[in-house]
C-alpha cells in the first residue's frame, strides 16, 4: 500500500517540478514574432516581384503561413516549392507558372531615358539610380530582375537582359552520368577486346 502511495507522490512531485520548469521556459524563451514566417521568407528568393500576387516576398511568406499555396513563386522555381514543402511538411506541388530559368537584370538604354523617375518609384529594392530629367541607370548588383520597372517606363527604354556569365559567377557543369551500357552493347565489346 505504502509503495503505491510513495509512487504516486513521486510521480506527482515530478509532474509538478517539470510543470514549473516548462512553464518557466515558456515565459523565458518566448519567441517574438512568428518564426515560421521568417523561415518561409528565408526560402523565398526575395526578388520582390509580386508575381505571387502579394506585394513582395514577406507578405507571401505570411500568406503561406496562413495556409496559402506554396507554388506561386516563379522566380523561386520548383526548388523553392520543394524547400517550402520540406519546411512545412506538406506535399510538393508543381509550380503554377513557367519557371524562370535565366536570371535577368534590368538595363536602361541610357540615351533614350527621359529622366521621368517612374522606374525609380517602381523598383522595390531601390536598384535604380537617377534624378528628375537626368539619365537613369540600374545598379546591376542590386537588381533582382523583378521586371517591375519595365512597364512604367513611358519610352520603353528598359530591357531585361540575361545576367552575363563571368569568371566569377561561372559554374561547373554537372558531369554527365556514366554511359549506362550493358556488356552486349555495340562498340563496348570491341573496345574491351582492343584493350585486352
Amino acid at each position: 500500500m505504502s509503495t503505491v502511495v510513495i509512487a504516486i507522490c513521486v510521480l506527482l512531485g515530478l509532474a509538478a517540478v517539470f510543470g514549473i520548469i516548462l512553464g518557466y521556459a515558456a515565459v523565458k524563451f518566448k519567441v517574438e514574432g512568428n518564426p515560421i514566417v521568417d523561415q518561409i521568407d528565408g526560402l523565398l528568393p526575395q526578388t520582390q516581384c509580386g508575381q505571387c500576387g502579394y506585394p513582395g516576398c514577406r507578405p507571401y511568406a505570411e500568406a503561406i503561413a496562413n495556409g496559402d499555396a506554396i507554388n506561386k513563386c516563379p522566380p523561386g522555381g520548383q526548388s523553392t516549392v520543394e524547400a517550402l514543402a520540406d519546411l512545412l511538411d506538406v506535399e510538393a506541388v508543381p509550380l503554377d507558372a513557367v519557371e524562370e530559368t535565366v536570371k535577368k537584370v534590368a538595363y536602361i538604354r541610357e540615351d533614350e531615358c527621359i529622366g521621368c523617375t517612374k522606374c525609380i518609384q517602381a523598383c522595390p529594392v531601390d536598384a535604380i539610380l537617377g534624378a528628375a530629367k537626368q539619365m537613369h541607370t540600374v545598379i546591376t548588383a542590386e537588381c533582382t530582375g523583378c521586371d517591375l520597372c519595365v512597364e512604367p517606363c513611358p519610352v520603353d527604354c528598359i530591357d531585361m537582359l540575361p545576367l552575363e556569365t563571368t569568371l566569377n559567377n561561372w559554374k561547373w557543369d554537372a558531369p554527365r552520368p556514366g554511359i549506362e551500357l550493358i556488356a552486349t552493347d555495340a562498340g563496348r565489346g570491341t573496345e574491351q577486346r582492343g584493350a585486352a
Binding site: 514577406r58 531601390d126 561561372w170
Partner: protein, 901 residues
C-alpha cells in the same frame, strides 16, 4: 634537418619531369601581340589605367589593384595599347575576360623602375605596398595576392615560414628549373619575406626527386645568417598541397576552414620568393614567369621565361610542338589542370605548365561506371575525406550533406579519381557541387541584400508618409490658428476679456462677501466664546486667501485689459484727469470769489492758481479731445457728451460773466483779466455748441438709414412673396389649372405692393443719401429695377412661348416690355447724368472706379505682406506706413466715388 611527418593518402603517378629539365630555361620570343588579362589573381579585377592607343613602357602599370585582395598588372614590354576587350583567358570555363592587348615594338624600353637599395630602411607597410605595386600574386597556382599574405604578420603570430618547393604534380618543372638556375634570387626573396614576417625559422620543403635543385639550394644557404632549413620530403602526390606540405614538415594540421596562419605558419612558393626578390632589388614588376612546355607532342620540351600575355601558341612553336600529334592542350598539370582549346590563350601569372599531349599520352576518359564501393578513393584522399560519399551527395544534389562532409576541404587533387576503378570523374562532381553551393550562397546573400533593401524602402516610404501627414497636420493647425486669430482678434478677444473681467470681478466680490461673512462669524464666535473658533478661524483664513487670489486675478486681468485696449483707457484716464483739473479749477475759482468778496489780500496768489489751473484744465481737455478724435474719429461723435460739454461751457461762461460783473462793480483791478477769460469761455461755449449741433444733425441724418434698412427688408419680403406667387402661377399655367386667372390677379397685386415698397425705399434713399439732389433717382435702385423687370419679362416671354394663344399673357409681356424699357431708360439716363456730373467736376467716373478698385487691391496686398512679415518677425514699420498711405489713398478715392453714386 627537420623531421618529416606524413600525410594521409597520396598517390605516385608517373612523374614525366625529366623531359623538360634537359635544357636550361630559354627566353621565350616576344610575340607581336601580348594579351594581358586584368584579372590574373584571386580577388577583385584590377582597374585599367590605360586607353586604347596609349604608348606603354615595359614595366609600366597598366591596371591598378582595387580593394584589399587584388593585384596590379604591368605592361610586359613596351608597345602600344591596341585594344581593351574581352579575350579568351586560361580558365576551365573557356570564357573570355577583360584584357589589355598590347602591340609590342621590340624596343623593350623600360619605364624607370628602381629597386630598393636598402629595403630594411622602409617601414613594413611601405615595403609591402612597394611589393603590392609590383603586382605579385602567388605563382604556385592559385594566384593569391602576395601582399595580403605578407600582412599576416600584423594580426597573427608567425612561427614558421614554409617555402613550397615540392612541385609534386607530374610534368611540371618550372620551380625545379628556377631553383637550379636562380637559387640566389629565391634566397634573397626569402630574406625579404623573413624581414616582413619575422618567423622563428624558415623551412624549404622540397621533394626528393629534385636532387639538383636541393644541391644548389644547399650551396646557396651555406653560412647564411638566417635559420633556413631545407627539408627533403619523399615524392608523393600531392605533397605540394599547402596543407599537405605543412603536415609533412610540421606535423600540424590546419583546421578545416582555417588558414595556415591560424596555426602560426605562412607558405610561399619559390617562384613567389624569386618574384619578390626581383621586385625589391631590381624594381622589376611581375611581367614574366617560367612556364614548362612539355608533353609528347613537344619535340623540344623545356622551360621558357615568357612574358605575361604571350599566347601559348608562341611557346608551343618555340618548343617545336608537332601539331599533328597534338590531341590535347592542358593548362597546368595533368592532375589539376584543365584542357584548353585555343592556342591564343595567353600566359598569366599562374600558368606554370602547358602540356601538349598526344592521344596516347592522355586518352579520353573511359566511360564512368557505377561505384563499386571499393573504398580506394578514401584511402588516397590527402584531405582525409570520404570521396565516395561526396560523390553520392553531389550526384543526388544533396548539397547540404556534401557540405557537412567537408566538401570544401577537398583540394581537388584528383587522387581519388586517379585510383577509381570505375573511372568516375569524381573531381568534376566535387567541382560542380562546390560551384553550386557557392552560387546558392551568393544568391542567398543577394536575396538577403534585396530583402534588406526592400524593407528599408518600405520603412522609408512609411516614414515619408508619416512626415507628410505630420506636415499636413501642422499646416492645417497653422491655418486654423491663423483663422482663429483673425476671427478673434477684432471682435471676440476684447469681448471675452471683458467677460472674463466681469467674471473675475464677480468672483472677487463673492470672495470678499464670503470673507466678510466668515469674519463676522468668527467675531461672533469669539464674542460668544464658542468652541468652534479654530474651525471658523481656518475658514476665515481660507476665505481670505481665496479673496486675495480673486483680487489678484482681477487686478492682473485688468492690467492686461488696459494693455490690450490702451487707447480706450487712455481716453478714460484723460477724461478723469480733465475732470479733476476742472474740479480743482472750480474750487480755486470759488476760493478766489469768496476771497474777493471778503477782500482778502492773497488775491493775487489765488488768481495765479486759478490761471494755472485753467491752463491745466484746458490742456487736459485738449488732450482728451485729441485722444477722442484719435480713437473714435470715424465713429459718430457722442452727441450726449457734446451736449454736456456745451452746457458746461455755458455754465462756466455764465459764472465767469457774473464774476466779471461783480469785479467790475467792486472796481477790482483784475476786471480786465476776467473779461478776457469770459471772452475765452464764450468762444469755447460757442465751439462746444457748434460741435453738438453738428453731431446732432449727423445722427439725425443717420436715423433715416435705419428706415431704409426696414424698407429694404420690406422690399425683399415683397419680392420673395412675389417670386413665389409667380412661380406658382407659371406652374398653374403650365398645368392649365382653372385658378390661373385668380392667381394672376393675386400676382399683380403683389407686384404692385412690391413696386410700392421699392418706390418707398427709393424715396427714402434718395432723401437720405442725396438730400441736396432730391429729385435724382437712386442709380442702384434703378439698376435693380431694370434687372427685375428683365427677369419678369423673360419669365413672361417664356410663359407666352409655352402658351402662345394666351392673349392675357401676350398683353402682359407687352406691358412688361414697356416697363422694362422705361426702367432701363431711366437707369441709363441716371448713369449718364452721373457721369456727366462727375465729368463736370473734372472727374472721369470710370477711371475713378478703376482707381478705387486698384487702391483697394493695393491695401489688401500690403495687408497680406504685413501679415507675412509679422509671421517672419521682420521689420514692419515701413510696411505699416505704406499701408496707412495706401489706405488713405483708397479712402479718398472711395469717398469721391461714393459722392457720385
Amino acid at each position: 634537418m627537420g623531421k618529416v611527418f606524413a600525410f594521409h593518402g597520396g598517390i605516385h603517378p608517373p612523374e614525366n619531369k625529366k623531359q623538360s629539365t634537359r635544357t636550361p630555361i630559354a627566353i621565350a620570343p616576344i610575340p607581336e601581340v601580348l594579351t594581358v588579362p586584368i584579372q590574373q589573381h584571386i580577388g577583385i579585377p584590377a582597374k585599367v589605367l590605360v586607353n586604347v592607343g596609349d604608348q606603354v613602357l615595359k614595366g609600366q602599370m597598366i591596371a591598378a589593384a582595387e580593394g584589399r585582395i587584388s593585384a596590379s598588372v604591368h605592361a610586359p614590354t613596351s608597345g602600344k595599347v591596341v585594344d581593351i576587350s574581352m579575350q579568351p583567358v586560361p580558365h576551365a570555363s573557356g570564357l573570355s575576360a577583360q584584357c589589355v592587348v598590347i602591340e609590342t615594338d621590340d624596343q623593350e624600353q623600360w619605364s624607370d623602375t628602381q629597386g630598393l637599395a636598402d629595403y630594411t630602411a622602409l617601414s613594413k607597410p611601405e615595403l609591402i605596398d612597394f611589393i603590392r605595386d609590383k603586382g605579385i600574386a602567388g605563382m604556385g597556382g592559385a594566384g593569391f595576392p602576395t601582399d595580403v599574405k605578407l600582412h599576416l604578420g600584423d594580426d597573427h603570430i608567425v612561427n614558421t615560414l614554409i617555402i613550397n618547393a615540392a612541385e609534386c604534380e607530374p610534368y611540371i618543372t618550372a620551380d625545379d628549373m628556377l631553383m637550379r638556375e636562380r637559387a640566389d634570387r629565391i634566397v634573397r626573396g626569402i630574406e625579404v619575406i623573413h624581414h616582413l614576417l619575422k618567423p622563428h625559422h624558415v623551412v624549404i620543403g622540397i621533394e626528393d626527386n629534385k636532387a639538383h635543385a636541393i644541391r644548389v639550394l644547399e650551396e646557396q644557404l651555406k653560412g647564411h645568417p638566417l635559420n633556413i632549413d631545407i627539408v627533403v620530403v619523399p615524392t608523393k602526390y600531392p605533397s605540394g598541397g599547402e596543407k599537405q606540405l605543412i603536415k609533412l614538415l610540421t606535423g600540424v594540421e590546419v583546421p578545416s576552414g582555417g588558414i595556415p596562419a591560424d596555426v602560426g605558419i605562412v607558405c610561399q612558393n619559390v617562384g613567389t620568393a624569386a618574384a619578390i626578390s626581383d621586385a625589391v632589388f631590381d624594381g622589376k614588376p611581375l611581367i614574366s614567369r617560367i612556364v614548362t612546355i612539355t608533353g609528347d607532342a613537344a619535340r623540344k620540351p623545356q622551360n621558357f621565361e615568357a612574358l605575361i600575355g604571350t599566347p601559348f601558341d608562341t611557346l608551343l612553336e618555340a618548343a617545336d610542338v608537332d601539331r599533328n600529334a597534338l590531341s590535347r592542350l592542358v593548362c597546368g598539370g595533368p592532375m589539376m589542370g584543365f584542357t584548353i582549346n585555343d592556342g591564343s590563350i595567353p600566359v598569366i601569372k599562374t600558368s606554370n605548365c602547358v602540356i601538349a599531349a598526344t592521344a596516347d599520352e592522355m586518352p579520353p576518359a573511359p566511360p564512368a561506371q557505377a561505384c563499386i564501393r571499393c573504398g580506394m578513393c578514401e584511402q588516397v584522399c590527402p584531405a582525409e575525406l570520404l570521396p565516395q560519399q561526396l560523390h553520392w551527395f553531389a550526384k543526388s544534389r544533396e548539397l547540404d550533406k556534401a557540405k557537412h562532409h567537408n566538401l570544401f576541404d577537398c583540394i581537388e587533387c584528383g587522387a581519388c579519381a586517379y585510383v577509381c576503378p570505375s573511372s568516375i570523374p569524381l573531381v568534376q562532381y566535387y567541382r560542380f557541387a562546390k560551384s553550386e553551393i557557392r552560387n546558392e550562397e551568393a544568391e542567398q546573400r543577394k536575396a538577403e541584400l534585396a530583402k534588406q533593401r526592400f524593407e528599408a524602402r518600405l520603412a522609408r516610404q512609411e516614414q515619408e508618409k508619416l512626415e507628410k501627414e505630420a506636415r499636413r497636420k501642422a499646416r492645417a493647425a497653422d491655418a486654423a490658428k491663423a483663422q482663429a486669430q483673425k476671427a478673434a482678434a477684432p471682435v471676440s478677444q476684447p469681448a471675452s476679456s471683458e467677460d472674463e473681467l466681469k467674471k473675475l470681478k464677480t468672483a472677487a466680490a463673492v470672495a470678499r462677501t464670503k470673507l466678510k461673512k466668515a469674519q463676522t462669524a468668527l467675531d461672533k464666535a469669539k464674542a460668544d466664546g464658542g468652541d468652534d473658533i479654530a474651525q471658523l478661524d481656518l475658514q476665515f483664513q481660507q476665505a481670505q486667501q481665496a479673496s486675495d487670489k480673486a483680487a489678484a486675478a482681477l487686478a492682473s486681468a485688468e492690467a492686461g485689459q488696459t494693455d490690450a485696449v490702451k487707447p480706450a483707457v487712455d481716453t478714460k484716464q484723460l477724461k478723469t484727469a480733465a475732470a479733476v483739473a476742472r474740479t480743482k479749477l472750480k474750487k480755486a475759482e470759488k476760493a478766489l470769489a469768496s476771497a474777493e468778496e471778503k477782500g482778502q489780500d492773497d488775491l493775487d496768489a489765488l488768481r495765479a492758481t486759478v490761471k494755472e489751473l485753467t491752463q491745466k484744465a484746458d490742456a487736459a481737455q485738449q488732450a482728451l479731445e485729441q485722444a477722442d478724435s484719435g480713437t473714435s474719429a470715424p465713429a459718430v461723435p457722442d452727441t450726449k457728451q457734446l451736449k454736456t460739454a456745451a452746457a458746461v461751457a455755458r455754465t462756466k461762461l455764465k459764472k465767469a460773466q457774473s464774476a466779471l460783473a461783480l469785479a467790475q462793480e467792486q472796481g477790482a483791478d483784475n476786471a480786465d483779466e476776467l473779461a478776457k477769460t469770459v471772452a475765452e469761455l464764450e468762444a469755447k461755449a460757442a465751439t462746444a455748441q457748434a460741435a453738438f449741433d453738428a453731431a446732432e444733425s449727423g445722427s439725425s441724418s443717420a436715423q433715416p438709414q435705419d428706415k431704409t434698412a426696414d424698407l429694404q427688408a420690406d422690399v425683399d419680403k415683397a419680392k420673395q412673396t412675389l417670386e413665389k406667387a409667380q412661380k406658382a402661377l407659371t406652374a398653374a399655367q403650365a398645368s392649365g389649372s382653372p385658378a390661373v386667372d385668380k392667381m394672376r390677379a393675386g400676382v399683380e397685386k403683389l407686384e404692385k405692393k412690391y413696386q410700392d415698397a421699392v418706390t418707398a425705399l427709393q424715396a427714402v434713399k434718395g432723401s437720405t443719401e442725396k438730400p441736396a439732389a432730391e429729385p435724382e433717382l437712386d442709380l442702384k435702385a434703378l439698376k435693380q429695377t431694370v434687372s427685375i423687370m428683365r427677369t419678369k419679362l423673360k419669365k413672361a416671354e417664356k410663359a407666352l412661348a409655352e402658351a402662345p394663344d394666351d392673349a392675357a399673357l401676350a398683353d402682359e409681356v407687352a406691358r412688361l416690355t414697356q416697363s422694362h424699357d422705361e426702367a432701363k431708360q431711366a437707369f441709363e439716363a441716371g448713369e449718364a447724368k452721373q457721369i456727366e456730373q462727375a465729368a463736370a467736376q473734372g472727374v472721369d467716373l470710370k477711371q475713378l472706379k478703376i482707381d478705387a478698385a486698384m487702391a483697394r487691391a493695393a491695401v489688401t496686398k500690403i495687408e497680406r505682406a504685413i501679415k507675412k512679415a509679422s509671421e517672419q518677425d521682420s521689420d514692419l514699420r515701413e510696411l505699416e506706413t505704406e499701408l496707412v498711405g495706401a489706405q488713405q489713398h483708397a479712402d479718398k478715392l472711395n469717398t469721391t466715388l461714393s459722392q457720385f453714386e
